[in-house]
């Protein structure tokens, strides 16, 4: 097998990966960025609302980083590591300034300074934005910047298969060029996993098609742990049926949810907050309406803006209006927007500390949605994820630099291991019969949605888990019908499915294990938060067919847990 050598490999060309690569390369080390799509096609481009930042001199005079940390910790239902949240807040202004200086076209105030707006869960307004395309603007600015510095080689449309380790030490990554199916062993002393989220595990998700959770599975197979993998965030208002996010602004500005009887049903679930109830409550209410037959055919409810008037809708809710029009052919001034909840964000991830370092494997780092630094805890606050990708992408990059300075790496060759990785996946293309990936995929996504989704309980999750295990057992008999050796996406879809199944087993097992409700993890059989027994992080390893669970304490610095009421 062909071999290439670098000081560090970054897997993922989204915001987190690019920022880490920038830091490593700027310090003079040679970096390869491996991404299965051209970097600007990464999921980061989809982020709409904005990035939270406390900017001294350009924030509310009463605001300070502590308020920001507090909001984050409370929003995360106290499963947040408080030192991580503090670092996030403290570095937020700086990171926005850096991105501005690199050309990000943030919206401006009349005096030319970066503008700011309010987002759910913030005590003071902190969200910085570029129209309704903040992620796209940041991603392009960052990619363009990194593409202009030396020391970085981009391997775009290369698919990472597995980590190669030697006795718990990183040796490199095996990746395959999608155009030619040519496998290469990328050797490096450090690897940063910045592979983004996993929305495709659920039949309804606001995520990009490419978010298949590859990084989590790669880490698990290498023997690294995932932290808090049971925490999956759902967003109440995704456009039916494309699952494109309809921002919370639509409800914030006066939109109401109605069922097929035209009834404003939130009055039954949240009599006070009504349509402004938090994400998790709104999601559960909508699902209840649909399950009890009060949804519209196909399974959705209406987000009604009509009473707000055409002018107001087009001015204040331009994005929701446009999205409904373009992607569902619905004119929101004339009919309600069809919406339903959908998976939106993954709080769990590869276990790392605030330097981005994984404790299990020397030389393994992670950042962005792929990582769990524990800034989001049990529930992520809007605008905090873009911030995390950049702040912790940078922290991780910096800690890779210090790691590289005093670590000489493993000398072993590991070629056999690399060959084994490739041989195993070639099995899919060699066999002529077996299970087809599409079948397994659609089943998995339905099971996750139905049984390990918004409502969870013992019975459903155990059933779900059994079914997921069965599906995973089918992997060895999976086969790929397309034998083409050029850009064979069926082959890569099958590999993604294998990753999804490895992750699904861990999510199912840990969700079943956590016997309480906290943030996005809602159990009908244990509806209360239980700090006595469950104020701790889940740490999960994949051991053969089973999942091994241990725990880690939550880091508390200043804030004592209190009830999460708004």
């Amino acid at each position: 097998m062909e071999k290439l050598s670098y000081d560090a490999i970054v897997v993922g060309g989204g915001l987190a990966g690019l920022m880490a690569a920038h830091q490593i390369a700027s310090a003079g080390f040679k970096v390869a960025v491996i991404s299965k799509v051209f970097p600007t096609r990464s999921h980061s481009s989809s982020a709409e609302g904005g990035i939270a930042a406390y900017m001294p001199g350009n924030s509310d005079p009463n605001d300070d980083p502590d308020f920001m940390s507090y909001d984050t910790i409370k929003g995360g239902d106290y499963l947040v590591d408080q030192d991580a949240a503090q670092l996030l807040s403290e570095k937020s202004g700086e990171i926005v300034k850096i991105m501005e200086s690199w050309g990000t076209l943030f919206n401006r105030q009349p005096d030319g300074r970066v503008a700011v707006r309010y987002f759910g869960g913030q005590t003071y307004p902190r969200t910085r934005f570029v129209g309704d395309k903040t992620g796209m603007a940041l991603l392009h600015a960052l990619f363009q910047r990194v593409s202009g510095i030396g020391n970085v080689d981009f391997y775009n449309e290369w698919f990472s298969l597995d980590l190669v380790t030697d006795n718990k030490r990183v040796v490199g990554v095996v990746a395959m060029e999608m155009k030619s199916l040519n496998p290469v062993l990328f050797k490096a002393r450090a690897v940063v996993m910045a592979t983004g989220g996993m929305g495709m595990l659920y039949s309804h998700s606001t995520n990009a098609y490419i978010n298949t959770g590859d990084g989590y599975a790669i880490a698990l197979r290498a023997g690294a742990s995932l932290k808090d993998p049971e925490f999956v965030q759902f967003h109440p208002t995704a456009l039916y049926p494309s699952d494109i996010l309809i921002s919370e602004a639509a409800r914030g500005e006066g939109g109401i949810l109605i069922n097929n009887k035209g009834e404003r049903f939130m009055k039954r679930y949240a009599p006070k907050k009504m349509d402004l109830a938090p994400r998790d409550i709104a999601s559960r209410s909508i699902i209840t309406e649909i399950r009890e037959g009060r949804g519209f055919p196909g399974g959705y409810v209406g987000l009604d803006l009509r009473h707000l008037g055409e002018e107001y809708i087009k001015e204040r809710l331009a994005l929701a209006y446009e999205a409904a029009k373009t992607f569902s052919g619905v004119d929101a001034t004339k009919e309600p927007i069809p919406v339903r909840p959908a998976q939106h964000y993954y709080m769990g991830g590869i276990d790392v500390d605030i330097t981005g370092k994984n404790p299990d494997i020397i030389g393994l780092f992670a950042a962005g949605e792929a990582a769990c630094v524990s800034v989001h805890g049990a529930n992520r606050l809007g605008s905090n994820s873009l911030l995390e990708t950049l702040v912790y992408g940078r922290e991780t990059g910096n800690s890779v630099v210090s790691f590289l300075r005093d670590y000489s790496g493993s000398t072993s060759d590991m070629e056999k291991e690399a060959e084994k990785v490739v041989e195993e996946i070639y099995r899919f293309t060699k066999s002529e019969t077996g299970v087809h990936y599409g079948e397994v995929l659609n089943k998995l996504r339905d099971i996750m949605w139905e049984k390990v989704g918004i409502f969870r309980d013992e019975k459903n999750m155990s059933e779900g888990l059994t079914e997921i295990m069965k599906l995973r057992d089918m992997v060895p008999s999976m086969y790929v019908t397309d034998k083409s050796s050029v850009y064979n996406t069926e082959f890569f879809n099958a590999l993604e499915l294998r990753n999804m199944l490895d992750l699904a087993v861990v999510i199912g097992t840990t969700a079943l294990n956590r016997k309480e409700s906290r943030g996005a993890h809602f159990r009908t059989d244990y509806p209360e938060r239980d700090d006595q027994n469950w104020l701790k992080h889940t740490i999960a390893y994949s051991k053969g067919k089973t999942v091994e669970i241990t725990y880690k304490p939550v880091k508390m610095t200043k804030w004592k847990p209190e009830a999460r009421v708004y």
């Binding site: 051209f38 096609r41 481009s45 690199w102 050309g103 401006r108 030319g112 049926p241 699952d243 069809p338």
Partner: protein, 326 residues
């Protein structure tokens, strides 16, 4: 408020319709062929979803690119019923309605070499994008965090319009000039180039002129790029605006000089005769007139230090401004 009954009817309009999708297939091993698939869709079904369903339910061997499904990642450019479009920004039944046929054809984008089915090789596209140095070169003090950039809200809005390019390649795939002229950077690269040329925070203006000006005179003003761009970037507008900067370039290439002279002669003819209508007929292209306007705009609002050198010309342009009723 609309009546409840009507509301229900609207939301319940979920009738499915069977469509036929004809996909132009290609693989290195098998060559090229058309293949048909039939499936049921409703009024909400995006073409990316059509492809995903065909791939997971009928024929896994089809290759195409798609990521965001919300028209921001630029992955899914292809030809649908012959038109260059983003698949995710296209609803199947809209196409059925527009063309009054339940058969929809899907092909890879023109111009780019096909790798497999709907996946094309975009290497040349990317090369051209990188040629225009697609990034801000800010002042050293800003990079070191000593001073902050300020940007007027109106400048932000102007630049943001052209920054919204998602590198989808649709404009290039349909541009006639790119095909015949290897020196032409193409519409997307020009949009990107202009976005930084016009950025008051950038520091490599002269270098950008050298990269962009000659190429800007190679566009035919056919407006194809304007028509196909899914993000309303208006590449041709940026080319016009770039041409207006020709004045500020020290060593012009032949192409740029000829182009510029052409415009100048029109300018002077307008100035002499004052017959705007006649000039319009003579020009017969809205585009060139716009260029004159843009030139005036650049003189007024462009980099002041360059505008000053052009002192004498401004007088003449003032006259045209009057003639053109500005």
């Amino acid at each position: 408020m609309v009546e409840k009954a009507e509301e229900q009817k609207n939301l319940a309009q979920l009738e499915e319709q069977e469509i036929t999708v004809k996909i132009k297939r290609f693989s290195k091993e098998k060559g090229s062929w058309w293949q048909e698939y039939r499936l049921k869709v409703d009024r909400f079904t995006q073409m990316t979803e059509v492809l995903r369903r065909i791939k997971t339910e009928q024929d896994p061997t089809i290759s195409y690119r798609a990521s965001c499904h919300m028209a921001v990642c630029g992955s899914c450019g292809m030809k649908i019923n012959g038109e260059p479009r983003l698949a995710c920004k296209t609803l199947a039944l809209d196409i059925v309605k527009i063309y009054n046929s339940s058969t929809i054809s899907v092909e890879p984008m023109d111009y780019f070499p096909v790798l497999k089915d709907l996946v094309v090789d975009l290497d040349e596209f990317y090369d051209k994008m990188f040629k225009v140095k697609p990034r801000l070169y800010p002042d050293k003090d800003v990079l070191e965090g000593k001073v902050d950039h300020r940007l007027k809200p109106e400048d932000q809005r102007e630049l943001w319009k052209f920054e919204q390019c998602i590198w989808c390649g649709l404009c290039v795939s349909s541009c006639p000039a790119v095909r015949i002229d290897p020196e032409f950077l193409g519409p997307a690269a020009h949009a990107k180039g202009y976005r930084f040329l016009a950025d008051p925070r950038d520091t490599i203006y002269e270098e950008r002129l050298k990269i962009l000006i000659d190429s800007s005179w190679r566009c035919t003003y056919c407006y194809q790029c304007f028509n196909v761009c899914p993000r309303d970037v208006e590449p041709v507008t940026t080319i016009k605006k770039t041409r207006a900067h020709t004045k500020f370039m020290k060593e012009k290439t032949k192409v740029a000089e000829t182009g510029e002279k052409h415009i100048e002669s029109i300018v002077s003819s307008i100035r002499e005769t004052g017959k705007l209508e006649e000039a319009k007929v003579y020009l017969s292209t809205y585009g060139l007139l716009e260029s004159i306007k843009d030139m005036i705009y650049a003189m007024q609002n462009g980099k002041l230090k360059y505008a000053l050198v052009q002192d004498t010309k401004v007088k003449g342009l003032d006259q045209i401004k009057k003639i053109m009723g500005e």
